[in-house]
Amino acid sequence: MNVRACCLRLLFVALTSLAVGQAALADETSTSSPPTTEQVQITDPYIELHTGPGRGYPVFFVAAREEWITIEMRHTDWYRVRTAGGKVGWVNRRQLETTITAAGGAKTFRDVVLDDYLNRRVQLGAAIGRFKSEPMLKLWTSYRLSDTISVEGTVGQVQGLYSGTDFWHLNLQIEPWSDKRLSPFFGVGFGKFKNYPNISLVSAVDTNAKLANASVGLRYYLTERFIIRADYSIYTAYIADTRSGEYRAVTAGLSFFF
């Protein structure tokens, strides 16, 4: 009897908690989107309001400790705030870092500063280099799936003297020591080449070919948002059923996190 009662009680508790949890979940999803402004209380001795989002713009107003301000907008590391007296100006993140929210807690600015860059997922970069001794330019964007694995999409152009090539490829990138400042990475991928001759060349035809590539490179984490990267790739172009071409490319470039 005791066992049964216990079981029943447990079952009841489990069911009710599940129901409550679901109700809470439904409640959470049904409410409106998060607010776009926030009231915070200044904890620094004073904050300086600039006329524009940058240290070069003049300070025109100073708000003192314990005053309440409203944060309205962000431009890079600068926030547009409105004081209780109605003054509107731009304040650097550093002066707002210790401010207190209406809820009494310290405001976090994690949407801008991330001590751990691994939490950032989307990266955009560009690089220039040599593709079989001809100048090339590429633009890539990558999405980090986990600490060590990311997918990367690249579009590029080889700007040769007699012919040019447009290409794109998708790569899977492995970065085994991604927590290190200087770390190697490896990638493999597939994509497409489109080769077009410059007009000075007679009787040349455009070629379209699928490509596969393998690359190895080095990444150096420069500062908060920036990364330098160099890589060496081998491209194989499947020109025809029985013919394929192999090209080597070296590039170096800069990328940043969103």
């Binding site: 216990c6 607010p35 940058g54 309205e72 431009h75 330019l137």
Partner: protein
């Protein structure tokens, strides 16, 4: 008789153990749900904290920009022509931004046709289009005064990048370097003037050489 008694005892014992075993989880459960013994240093007052429902605000930001521009592009040896284009950018920090530009102009070889009736191009006017990716640095942020009472934020920037120019069916790698000035009308809109040198090689006049192509444009930019 003796053996029978022993067997009975054994059976009883087994039954008891089985019963105990079946009850064991029940006892465990009962123990887990029963009020636990009070710790000696237990809190006397339990604060009734009513947690606030906090939603982190998402401040609107304006790190991205998109714009249109028009101006004049002077192609080395071929004179100046009107140029128009689009730009899109992202401001990474208050100092550094990246920008991509797509623009085109029509270049004429009219001047050559005075002495060479067949001209240089196959048709008198040829399209020149370019794209580039550049990195800019806001070197002089400040204010511009319009009259005595009104001041607008401005930023003078240096910019350099790489891209490609397509001209007379040739695509050439192009480096660009220049400077510009941005005048913020509001927090989201700006007027922009830009002076840029596009450097690429051409062999249209018989010999391949680097050309300097200067461009001066004015435009409108929207930040979002």
């Amino acid at each position: 008789m003796h053996t029978r008694k022993l067997a009975l005892t054994t059976r009883f014992a087994t039954g008891f153990i089985a019963c105990l075993a079946s009850l064991a989880p029940a006892i465990a459960l009962a123990q887990s749900t029963a009020p636990e013994q009070k710790a000696p240093n237990e809190q006397v007052i339990t604060p009734e904290v009513d947690r606030r429902d906090i939603k982190m605000p998402r401040f609107p930001s304006n790190d991205f920009e998109i714009g249109v521009f028009a101006g004049t592009y002077s192609t080395q040896n071929f004179g100046a022509s009107a140029v128009a284009g689009l730009r899109a950018g992202y401001h990474i920090t208050e100092d550094i931004f990246v920008e991509g530009v797509l623009a085109q102009t029509k270049v004429s070889d009219e001047d050559f046709r005075q002495v060479l009736p067949s001209g240089i191009f196959t048709t008198p006017r040829q399209k020149l289009s370019y794209y580039n990716l550049s990195v800019g640095y806001n070197i002089l942020p400040g204010e511009t005064f319009i009259g005595a009472k009104r001041a607008k934020a401005t930023a003078l920037y240096l910019i350099a990048g790489v891209g490609s120019t397509r001209f007379v069916e040739q695509r050439r790698q192009t480096f660009n370097i220049g400077m510009g000035n941005r005048l913020f009308l509001t927090d989201r809109a700006a007027l922009q003037i830009d002076l840029r040198d596009h450097i690429f090689s051409l062999d249209l006049l018989g010999k391949r050489k680097n050309t300097q192509n200067l461009e001066l444009t004015g435009g409108f930019t929207y930040f979002f």
